[in-house]
């Protein structure tokens, strides 16, 4: 029957459109593979995933906060301060502590730093932009205060998650993927995850239905802090040291960019972890691909921005297309099936 076939086709279209980030990723991958000699190799894919791991966790953290209807400018510096603090603690101040305590501590410190944001936004009801701007500055300067240079004699336990390998594969990659899967599960399959979407989609409605906004905000920012702490851990391993500029610089911008390109809406209520993963991989792939073209570095940067713009435009088209598909489905809006 033509009607059911039409419906099936529409369902397929919808599926593609909802996961367009992966289609874009495949397209870009194909494009680079065809034009660059060394691109289409296992080693290359391996390294793109590796480099994406540390920043990926920051993207997940930011995505979580964005979906809940807020924003967090301080995630990168939570990563930096947690790493620096734990590094200084376990290596300089209390060297008697075994290396693995650092792993536990970095998560705890991240949680605490995030919970400060959570308290100020959730309970004190201060605008998240203002709160995280202040904590951004505070955490940044605290990092420098602890140590201005780099801590290079980092214990192997702290370096392993971010830089170590198991059977040739960088451990950071499965860590990142596992976190992504876990967060995705929580967001889509648990009550708490649903409340995060509700908070971002219509916080008034959530409040009127008995969802506690202060607590939700508190936990969202605290979890973001935990993710940021983990990201800091991966950065330590990536560099095998803890420079004071760890997770600084461009990273907060990339955290937002990866999330938004992956379909997380700035308005809140929309987005997924898999989308965010797609976003961070796309950014990493574009960066790698343009670096491998080995043209003038300034032009490379320009090319990077251009491809990014293309991806964003396609994404915009995707959203419009998806809405059109959803609205025109037979049965929608009470129309006869």
């Amino acid at each position: 029957m033509p009607a059911t076939r039409r419906r099936t086709m529409q369902r397929v279209e919808l599926l593609v459109v909802k996961n367009l980030i992966w289609a874009i990723l495949a397209l870009v991958f194909l494009g680079f593979s065809v034009t660059l000699p060394n691109f289409f190799t296992l080693q290359n894919v391996h390294f793109v995933l590796y480099v994406a791991s540390a920043i990926g966790l920051l993207v997940f953290a930011e995505s979580l906060v964005l979906i809940s209807g807020s924003m967090d400018l301080s995630v990168a510096h939570i990563a930096g301060l947690s790493s620096m603090f734990v590094g200084a603690l376990t290596i300089r101040w209390c060297p008697f502590l075994p290396g693995w305590t650092g792993l536990v501590l970095i998560v705890i410190v991240g949680a605490i730093l995030g919970s400060i944001n959570g308290f100020l936004v959730g309970r004190m009801r201060i605008n998240p932009f203002l709160v995280t701007l202040s904590t951004f500055l505070m955490y940044n300067w605290l990092t420098f205060y602890i140590n201005r240079g780099a801590i290079s004699d980092v214990s192997p336990a702290l370096v392993f998650p971010g830089g170590g390998r198991l059977a040739g594969i960088f451990v950071a990659i499965p860590i990142m993927l596992l976190v992504c899967a876990l967060l995705g599960f929580v967001l889509t399959r648990t009550r708490f995850g649903g409340y995060i979407h509700a908070l971002g989609g219509n916080s008034e409605a959530a409040r009127m239905l008995g969802i506690s906004l202060p607590w939700m905000n508190f936990w969202v920012f605290t979890i973001a802090g935990v993710l940021a702490g983990l990201s800091g851990l991966l950065y330590i391993g990536y560099l095998a040291s803890i420079p004071s500029t760890i997770a600084g610089g461009d990273d907060i911008f990339l955290a937002f960019a990866g999330a938004i390109i992956g379909g997380v809406s700035l308005k809140g209520g929309e987005g997924s972890m898999t989308g965010a993963l797609g976003g961070v991989l796309l950014l990493g792939m574009i960066d790698t691909g343009t670096a491998m073209t080995l043209i003038n570095p300034a032009l490379r940067g320009f090319l990077n921005g251009l491809i990014l713009l293309l991806a964003i435009l396609i994404n915009k088209y995707r959203i419009a297309l998806r809405d059109k598909l959803l609205m025109s489905r037979p049965g929608a809006m009470g129309m006869p099936a």
Partner: protein
């Protein structure tokens, strides 16, 4: 009127006390320092040594950092001048944007000295710093020697250049020094990666270009952290860094262990601790004797010509006891004013543990 008499008599008292204390200890001065940023060990030590030097001479001092913002630097310097500093030492975030500071200071007869990063104004009294361009040239000559010996007398091969931020003055100079020498050899292929003077971006950039070009012979890095990042990238790609001739400017604390292990062959080190001390020394001398206190263009200042040792220990050492890291210095000109062009010291495995290297000073964790 009464207030003025009190202040004046106070000053007279102070002056006579100072005079009575003898010529060895000079009268205390109120000096200010404004650094462009303080985000790494080098800059930290640069600022610390200013504070120590001032403390040892019982000077009143104030130190500010501009967070990488030229406008903030102008504001901070004006505030310091308004609060009564008798002299300013500046490491300029932007050579041109900092010019108003010099104008403002000159209007109040306050001498401005620059250290590490100069200001484009003839009214600066003197600039203390090394030449990034010369350093790059010297390192590249060593690198060329390596290529020559590796390829049986021919200068050819592939060299990875780690570059600082594309717009930065110091990055531009250090890159220019490299290209001044390496561009003479048409058989040498240069691949560039932008590391923004930091480890993490350097490692990522190096990972990317090295995957396309794994067979490199040598690496020139415009600063220490980027060299570390590049070496980490090589290790992750199973390229043996000891087979690659890596040379870098700045022997930062993370570079020294790599020199000792052979991952980095040599570093050309500046003397951040001396920049501020030398500038302060000449600033105070200028305040007492004016232009006569400053050296003349063409002079060479040898290690024995300048004794800055205060014999007060900081972090377990006498920071200015050994002049080996900067002497001899040439006096030249830049931007219409004097340039105290410090030398740089070559750091290799043989002297990586030397006490006069600033990176070997064990600064306490809360530097």
């Amino acid at each position: 009127m009464k207030k003025a008499i009190v202040v004046l008599s106070g000053l007279l008292l102070a002056a006579s006390v100072a005079w009575a204390q003898g010529a060895a200890k000079r009268s205390p001065v109120f000096v200010g320092l404004d650094t462009k940023t303080v985000t790494n060990a080098w800059e930290g030590y640069f600022q610390d040594s200013f504070e120590w030097y001032a403390q040892d001479h019982h000077d009143t001092w104030v130190a500010e950092e501009a967070n990488g913002d030229p406008a903030v630097q102008v504001t901070q310097c004006r505030q310091m001048i308004n609060s009564g500093v008798k002299g300013l030492i500046i490491s300029a975030q932007d050579a041109v944007a900092a010019k108003p500071i010099v104008e403002f200071a000159e209007a109040r007869s306050i001498p401005v000295f620059t250290a590490d990063a100069d200001i484009d104004s003839p009214k600066v009294k003197m600039y203390v710093g090394f030449s990034g361009e010369r350093a790059g040239q010297e390192l590249t000559r060593h690198l060329v020697d390596f290529l020559k010996s590796k390829h049986h007398g021919e200068v050819r091969g592939t060299v990875l250049e780690m570059m600082g931020p594309l717009g930065g003055a110091s990055a531009i100079q250090r890159s220019k020094g490299f290209h001044d020498i390496i561009d003479r050899y048409p058989d040498v292929k240069v691949i560039q990666a932008v590391g923004d003077f930091q480890e993490a971006p350097a490692k990522t950039a190096a990972l990317n270009v090295l995957r396309a070009n794994p067979h490199i012979d040598a690496c020139y890095s415009a600063n220490g952290p980027m060299a570390v990042g590049a070496v980490e990238a090589m290790k992750d790609l199973n390229i043996d860094p000891r087979q690659v001739d890596t040379v870098t400017i700045d022997a930062t604390p993370s570079v020294l262990p790599m020199i000792k292990s052979g991952d980095i062959r040599m570093a050309l080190d500046q003397a951040p601790g001396f920049y501020t001390a030398i500038a302060a020394h000449y600033l105070v001398a200028y305040l007492e004797k004016g232009d006569a206190a400053l050296p003349k263009v063409g002079e060479t200042i040898k290690a024995s010509d300048l004794n800055l040792n205060t014999k007060v220990a900081h972090a377990g050492v006498y920071p200015w006891a050994d002049n080996a890291s900067w002497a001899p210095a040439k006096i030249t000109q830049e931007f219409g004013h004097l340039w105290f062009q410090t030398g740089a010291i070559l750091v290799t495995k043989s002297n990586a543990g030397a006490g006069y290297l600033w990176a070997n000073i064990k600064l306490p964790p809360q530097a």
